[in-house]
């Protein structure tokens, strides 16, 4: 309370610079089996205080108050629970103390911060410190800050190195269930059908198999284990970067965890007790990641490539190579961006058998002295040919104020990357103001 009073009095006195953003976005589903409804709604206010910022020291405190989704009330009793009627959360954003030039070129940051690695757009396989935030369906590259210590050293302008240590693991934030229900558990009916098939396979008559399976007590459970808080569970890693001529290079190594869990199903059938237990054991795989990235240009075309090789501790998981390569180019007022990804794409990652080859593309043009942006972005699953398209028009009538009209079009057959969003058509409306 005293801290808030102090901050308020300093801000009131104009001694603490403050900046912030107000934003609101709604998605309206116009076509789907579950259509003509708002599928997503969020309103947020962010404030960032910078009590101290000079050439040697910087302190920052930021937080976001976010109302996301709709009232979750399902009984009259819950009308007295304000957090259910108004689902509002407070998120702590960056909150750190940063020292510059402890020795020339050396900076040290302690606290909640964002550390970004990698040269590619949107998807960065080498970026494994900060937590992905997939909670907004239209933003695929947002990251939550994390608690960590970070050391950066640039002895020369062409040479930089950094080291980070993150003691606390925070998993990724997924899209809200009202927009995308990542179904990971089977239903009782599905398990009963599987049991019938197994009994028939064992030689039972189909009718009898149905009768036996119908008497089974089927229980489904999900068990998620978070990483511990021992020294062995810390995430730590380093990166060296340089540029030579027109090439930017970096090499990195990191010991840490996947941000989304792996699942291992365990099915136990007790025919004597007529009981079937399905337990989905979920855990965050520990891994060591070696990464490399580069960025350059050739004949005016921006080029980049980024690769990460993840070695998993769990012997049941195979080691994984993720690669992304891309280009961008500006011509006649247009900007085009193309990327090939062999790796995890945020929405597709939620599938049980993730598809891993994608083409990402974006074409944009600005009009009216840059006050209007028209963009067509999309992603294509190269294996199963499912796709997502996101056209966008953003108008900036005055500096800091943005109005957005967006479309969302998904298509994908069963087993493809975007199958859960098949035939989804949505219109999005957004407004934001930065001050």
């Amino acid at each position: 309370m005293a801290v808030w009073a102090l901050i308020f009095s300093l801000v009131s006195a104009g001694q603490v610079p403050v900046q912030g953003e107000l934003s609101s976005r709604a998605l309206f589903r116009i076509k789907d089996q579950d259509s003509s409804r708002f599928s997503f709604f969020t309103t947020a206010g962010s404030l960032v205080f910078t009590p101290l910022a000079n050439e040697r020291l910087e302190t920052k405190l930021g937080f976001t108050i976010r109302a996301q989704g709709f009232p979750l009330v399902n009984s009259a009793t819950q009308l007295s629970a304000v957090d259910i009627v108004e689902p509002v959360s407070v998120l702590l954003d960056e909150a750190y103390v940063r020292f510059y030039d402890l020795v020339p070129g050396l900076s040290f940051t302690a606290g909640r911060q964002r550390v970004h690695w990698g040269s590619a757009d949107v998807i960065n396989p080498t970026d494994n410190f900060t937590t992905p935030d997939y909670s907004d369906p239209l933003v695929w590259d947002r990251r939550r800050p994390v608690w960590m210590l970070h050391l950066g050293y640039s002895p020369l302008n062409a040479l930089g190195m950094e080291f980070g240590l993150k003691p606390v693991f925070e998993p990724a934030l997924n899209p809200p269930a009202c927009w995308y229900d990542a179904r990971v558990l089977p239903t009782v009916q599905e398990l009963r059908s599987a049991l019938v098939a197994q009994l028939i396979g064992m030689g039972y008559d189909p009718v009898l198999a149905e009768q036996i399976a119908g008497q089974f007590d089927i229980r489904i459970r999900e068990q998620l284990n978070l990483p511990g808080q021992t020294l062995n569970d810390f995430t730590w890693g380093g990166r060296v970067r340089t540029h030579l001529g027109r090439f930017d290079f970096s090499l990195s190594g990191l010991r840490g965890y996947d941000f989304l869990p792996e699942a291992q199903p365990v099915l136990t059938a007790d025919f004597a007790q007529q009981r079937l237990d399905f337990v989905l054991n979920e855990f965050f795989p520990q891994k060591t990641v070696f990464g490399a990235d580069l960025a350059t240009e050739l004949a005016g075309i921006g080029l980049w490539a980024e690769a990460a090789y993840a070695l998993y501790d769990d012997t049941l998981l195979s080691d994984r190579l993720s690669v992304i390569g891309g280009m961008d180019y500006s011509f006649a007022g247009f900007y085009i961006n193309l990327q090939y990804l062999h790796g995890d794409f945020p929405l597709a990652r939620l599938q049980t058998e993730p598809v891993r080859d994608f083409l990402l593309a974006g074409l944009e043009r600005r009009f009216a002295s840059d006050r209007m942006l028209v963009r067509l972005g999309g992603v294509l699953d190269l294996e199963k040919r499912s796709f997502g398209l996101i056209p966008l028009v953003r108008v900036t009538p005055v500096s800091g104020l943005n109005l957005e009209l967006t479309g969302l079009v998904f298509s994908g057959k069963t087993g493809s990357a975007f199958a859960p969003l098949d035939r989804v058509r949505e219109l999005g409306f957004g407004i934001s103001y930065q001050f």
Partner: protein
């Protein structure tokens, strides 16, 4: 119209006097007169579009020699923390705090608008004429009643006419030419002040003929020769205050 322009250019050349100094000598003298070892500048950028609408930006620029530059936007809110760094004409990067990442600016994007202004990234990177190359011989002429050298320069593929004041070797005006020889942009340097033996224009005005807009960069404060190291121009420092 183009024929008239060509005839006018020829007549102007005939009436002017070819200088005894070489173009490189004039350019070197200009760099000597205007380049500090390093400098830290705070400036207000005022952008007026063709409809008369005005936007302002406040930025801090740190320069070393004539090719190292780090610019950080302090205002408005939607650009605060965005920074731009250049260490040579081929090496330019931009830092976007919302993404938390530093991006290399490719050749095709170098012509893009710098912070919504009429300056491009490429023009900002060459604001001290560090990568300008002279073509041909300088011509002695007058600009607004001031005796000057007129040079034809190449700024990495863009041809420009540069007027350098004859007495103090100060840049007066640059006209960027399009393929047909017409003026695409005009940059006027004005309100020169001398500090620690270095001349600095406290007003740079860019007239964008194609868009009909004008950007003025007016200095608010300047510190010269303060001992900035080469390593200041690093990715770490781009994020400072971001």
């Amino acid at each position: 119209m183009k024929r008239m322009q060509a005839i006018t250019s020829v007549l102007l050349c005939l009436s002017a006097v070819v200088s005894a100094m070489s173009g490189d000598e004039v350019l070197d003298r200009m760099r000597e007169a205007t380049t500090a070892s390093d400098r830290r500048i705070e400036a207000v950028m005022r952008i007026t579009d063709k409809n008369g609408r005005v936007q302002e930006r406040v930025l801090r620029m740190v320069m070393k020699g004539d090719n190292k530059l780090l610019v950080r936007f302090l205002e408005p809110a939607d650009l605060r923390g965005v920074s731009f760094m250049s260490t040579s004409p081929e090496n330019m990067w931009v830092y976007l705090p919302a993404q938390g990442r530093v991006r290399r600016i490719s050749g095709s994007a170098a012509e893009a608008s710098f912070g919504g202004s009429d300056f491009s990234y490429k023009e900002m990177a060459n604001i001290s004429f560090g990568s300008s190359r002279v073509q041909g011989v300088p011509v002695e002429t007058e600009l607004n009643g001031v005796r000057a050298y007129q040079l034809l320069i190449d700024d990495g593929g863009t041809q420009s006419r540069l007027w350098v004041e004859k007495e103090r070797y100060l840049p007066l005006q640059v006209e960027q030419l399009d393929r047909d020889g017409g003026v695409r942009k005009r940059i006027i340097f004005a309100e020169f002040q001398q500090e620690k033996g270095v001349w600095m224009p406290w007003l740079i005005r860019l007239e964008n003929r194609a868009k009909g807009s004008v950007t003025e960069l007016r200095l608010r404060s300047a510190e010269l020769n303060i001992g900035i190291r080469d390593s200041y121009f690093s990715e770490e420092n781009m994020k400072k205050g971001g």
